[in-house]
């Protein structure tokens, strides 16, 4: 071993040993490893692989392979209802964790639900309904162990805002509610369909940055909406942009804000924020912010009941229907003009709800290190919303804040959702009359303290640090929501996401490579200033698949590199060889082949040889299929840049 190292040290001193040091054969000719010429591609196999990677990338059928039919049936049921699988190992110890977590999120969700229903312009009981049926369904079909299901702020705002554009919620209450159920139904259909056809990857087209901005903007908008309840303002704008809302608030000052309402609101908001701060500082006290809302509701309700502050203009909830969810099957619009409108709203709300739920599911799955099948999740969420729409619920999904509480309270399985659902059911059956004197201001405070968590400053700072374009996308979505409307913000978010994808594919990077001293590794001369150019040889790496969207650009960019090189190094030997390192070129299409052929033609006229190095399997395949490899010359295709340089400019490589 030590002898070997000594030999190595010696070689270091000679200074030019490298990747293909074994390339000299006994006959003193350079030994160059042959570029792998792949076997003829099989069309069927190729299509099968492509389809599999696109739709079944997580290999969901693997467990079914080579199983008897009966076992397949059992497995199928278990796939559809994961509870059948994890339920068998369920134990009392696990239930203890789930019970505590379930109670905690129930205490958090009850006041939130009542407030969120108001955001959707629905009566408070609909929020509670949506925290009863959907979590139950999810517990049977979902595979996330930590998600807490129910109405969430952003979806409530989005749904309320879009529904309101179609029907006035006060004058046409019945139609409004019917449209809400219709939208919920189609939200569920959308989610289930995407999951069933394994199109889950489509939601990946919403970039993280855009979502951060959209969520932050929605949070600000929601908080602004709460100023109505907090200040006890009666005449309030229907628009959601910051300018309309602030002028509403200011103009209401003339008539005098209701000081009792403001006092209650600000006092409890302070309490909630302090509780939140304590919970954040001391992780053991996580339950404090979780139960603070319920405590606030109880205290404030009692206070209003005692003082009859509602007689002094403090607005109260007044009435919540008693009893569990009535059926709403016959209230869904299955025909008429509202069908199309409900469909449109449902698709948008469904997708946003999905994005939120999948993001939460993935976050906690990665914290506890278990795998989540996105498509299966979508089927579960879709089914739960379809059934929800028939039982007077509106769109439910996973809630960021409640899921985090659920996780910290030590939930083990989806049973915590069942516990929460049961408590909500009991609330609906027994204690809704007690909410009569709950002041609206307290609900506003609860919502504000809940949505503040959606504004993720750290993420924005990180975006700025890492990727300026991501930061722009984030700000675009944020300001779109805050200064215009949720829909416009969403459109901007989607638009920016697509623009980024398109820019990525039209303007790929290219780099000039140089040789890193004492190795045979060739790297970007900008990144490695020590790398030396080989005189007479220009080495360019193309950093992307060559497709129709960029083939022309790449061809012209390479020619521009050549022109720059010739101008910059006028006194050096003329460029005789242009090596295109294809290592990062993962695929090429017919336009790409044409571009290569045109490049070859242009170079030939200037008496420069085109050399390709390290084309991948697919690329090599296509180069051969199109006879482009023959045109360029198969002896001009090398395994590595080092090999090519050694063959065509051996003196230069050793210089």
């Amino acid at each position: 071993m030590s002898g070997r190292i000594a030999a190595d040290v010696e070689m270091k001193d000679t200074g030019n040993m490298n990747a293909s040091s074994s390339r000299f054969q006994g006959d003193n000719l350079p030994y160059v490893h042959k570029v792998g010429k792949p076997p003829k591609q099989d069309l069927l196999k190729e299509i099968k692989t492509a389809l599999k990677e696109t739709f079944l990338s997580d290999d969901p059928l693997k467990p079914f392979k080579d199983q008897p039919r009966k076992r397949k049936l059992v497995l199928g049921f278990q796939t559809l209802f994961p509870i059948l699988e994890w339920g068998r190992d369920y134990s009392l110890a696990k239930f203890k964790g789930d019970l505590i977590a379930g109670c905690t999120i129930a205490s958090l969700c009850i006041p939130q639900d009542i407030g969120y229903a108001k955001l959707t312009n629905l009566d408070p009981q609909y929020g509670l309904y949506s925290s009863f049926v959907p979590p139950l369904i999810y517990a049977f079909m979902g595979s996330s162990r930590d998600i807490a299901i129910g109405p969430v702020a952003v979806v409530s705002l989005l749904l309320g805002s879009m529904l309101q554009d179609e029907i006035d919620p006060i004058t046409h209450k019945n139609e409004y509610e019917r449209l809400a159920f219709t939208a919920t139904f189609f939200a569920g259909i959308t989610q289930a369909t995407l999951g069933f056809f394994r199109l889950g990857f489509l939601i990946d087209f919403l970039s993280h940055a855009a979502i951060v901005g959209f969520m932050g903007g929605a949070a600000v908008t929601i908080a602004l909406q709460q100023l109505k309840g907090l200040f006890g303002i009666k005449k309030f704008t229907k628009k959601t942009d910051i300018i309309s809302v602030m002028s509403s608030v200011i103009s209401a000052a003339h008539h005098g804000w209701n000081w009792q309402t403001l006092l209650i609101g600000v006092a409890f908001l302070t309490f909630l924020m302090v509780a939140k701060y304590i919970g954040k500082k001391n992780k053991k006290l996580f339950w404090l912010p979780a139960i603070a809302p319920l405590i606030s509701v109880i205290v404030a309700t009692f206070f209003v009941f005692i003082t009859r502050a509602d007689r002094n203009g403090v607005q109260i909830v007044r009435h919540i229907d008693e009893g569990i969810n009535p059926s709403s099957v016959d209230r869904i619009f299955f025909n008429g003009t509202y069908l199309a409108k409900g469909f449109k709203i449902g698709v948008v709300a469904g997708l946003i709800a999905l994005t939120e739920a999948v993001a939460i599911g993935r976050t906690f799955a990665s914290l506890k290190d278990y795998q989540l099948d996105g498509n299966k999740e979508m089927v579960a969420l879709g089914t739960m919303n379809i059934i929800g729409s028939m039982t007077s619920c509106y769109v439910a999904t996973g809630s960021f804040s409640r899921s985090a509480v659920n996780y910290m309270a030590g939930c083990n399985t989806a049973v915590s959702n069942i516990v929460m659902s049961t408590i909500v059911m009991l609330t609906l059956l027994l204690i809704t009359p007690l909410f009569k004197y709950t002041p609206n201001a307290i609900l506003a405070s609860i919502i504000i303290s809940a949505v503040v968590g959606l504004i993720d400053f750290d993420a924005v700072v990180l975006l700025w640090k890492i990727d300026k374009f991501d930061f722009l996308a984030c700000m675009g979505a944020f300001f779109g929501v805050v200064f215009n409307s949720v829909e416009i913000g969403l459109l901007i978010a989607v638009g920016i996401s697509f623009a980024k994808i398109l820019l990525q594919v039209t303007r790929p990077r290219t780099a000039v490579l140089g040789k890193i001293p004492r190795t045979s590794v060739y790297r970007n001369v900008e990144q490695y200033p020590g790398a030396t150019r080989v005189p007479g040889v220009l080495i360019i790496r193309v950093d992307s698949a060559i497709y129709f969207s960029n083939s022309n650009y790449i061809k012209e960019r390479i020619l521009r590199w050549l022109a720059d090189e010739e101008e910059q190094f006028k006194n050096q030997p003329k460029v005789e060889y242009l090596i295109v390192d294809m290592s990062p070129v993962t695929d090429i299409d017919t336009s790409g082949i044409h571009a290569l052929e045109e490049l070859h033609g242009s170079l030939q006229k200037r008496e420069i040889q085109l050399i390709l190095t390290n084309p991948g399997q697919t690329v090599l395949d296509k180069l051969h299929a199109s006879h482009c490899a023959e045109l360029i010359g198969e002896d001009k295709i090398f395994l590595s840049v080092a090999d090519a340089v050694l063959t065509f400019a051996p003196k230069m490589e050793q210089a």
Copy 2:
């Protein structure tokens, strides 16, 4: 020198020399070249570079740099009117070539123009108008030397089909013509705007494959439309799909086709096709197919005039307005409902016209090896259509067939377009009455023989051979046009192009690497079956930038490779190191960083070390900015896979 080679041969025998053979220092520790840590990025510079590559990738301002103001002004004029530049070197010798080419394309374009005007449902003179003004403007502003400007078949069909959907061309002739000029105006505005704001790259989003299919489909549709003229059918469907047209033709058979018309049509179609065939076989006779149409028109017109076949039901042109283009400035709709419709139609027609012209310009520029500034071309084409719309022209662009004839006839500059334009002007002034007895059947034959060239069988075969997905895109666009309508075909073409881009970015390839024997090069084990895996180390190359659209997929795919590896090689040592080769990863965004961090977390739980090799400048930048590099450990980032393997598994590397 020979001693050096001998040393090399010796080293070959030891069998394990490689990329970092110089990595052993005197102190017997592995010498590993440091990964270039790029200097802190400069935000302004970064944005400037990104903007420049996107919008000014061809560096159009380079000649202006460091010039006195007066010179800049001259250069500016030359940029806008390239004729000022090339005109100074213009000579009699060049004019000779241009004169011959101009006459040839004029003889080809006059009958085509009359026919194409019919496709647009306009009177024949409008076709001639559009071959007079636009080529003149282009000659002053355009930079292609070979393109022949005028009305073309596909754009005429598209425009006619879209205009007809809005206004009936027979009952509301005046409004129809006005809408046509309005659409032409906005087509020009669209083209000039794209060029001015340097958004020319947007047309790269139409894939070559989709264009081949669309053009082929349009050619078939146009040929089918000519059956009306060829069979002398009076009642003909307004739809363009093959089923409607064929049932029109067959049902007309009951009333009897007009045999005289059919005879003239078929006879001359045969003549034209034979001429075309001869011209193709013998390149010297290229002028034969070029003047065949004019000969056919003259002979057929004379024949009809002598025999008065029009009295036997042979439909003739009857009337073409004499005189050059009247002004149409006041006929453009600048307000009212037709403004929006004209705008919509204009944008679509303008983009298609642009695609065709740019494709032609590029083809011939690459044949004669000169550079073409796509954005400048767009400004020229746009200006020519704007002025055209004010002088009774409809959308003109570069014609494939006439440009090819222009090139073969030896044109040298855009002067050939001026020659052609002059001949068309003389035709309009002097000889339009002679076209009175030209039979419509002959125009139909000329159009059929012209559009046959748009069906590019070879390209389709090549698509099938090279890229099956491209082939599908091509067929989709083709059948969309043939069986439905031009608009649907176009939509399919655009849709498929985008789907391909999106698929490309969501499902990038990943590959397991192995060591190629006797080198330190690591390559895809599927492509190079001889490559050997390093036991205990799994090396995966990610073949794409890691963006929000694929970050989750990449993370999950890597974990799946790991699971597969552990299952497949159960008896081998457990995987201890997972090397992710980032060579092809050209960029990463915040979602990508998150995915890497999650991957790192997952691997840590399984006691596997994550190692990154060869991250590019941008990626490295972002890894540092996000502190992800610290999380993974800076000593876990290597210049090459070989370095990483040697450091962590030296025995394995040498085994």
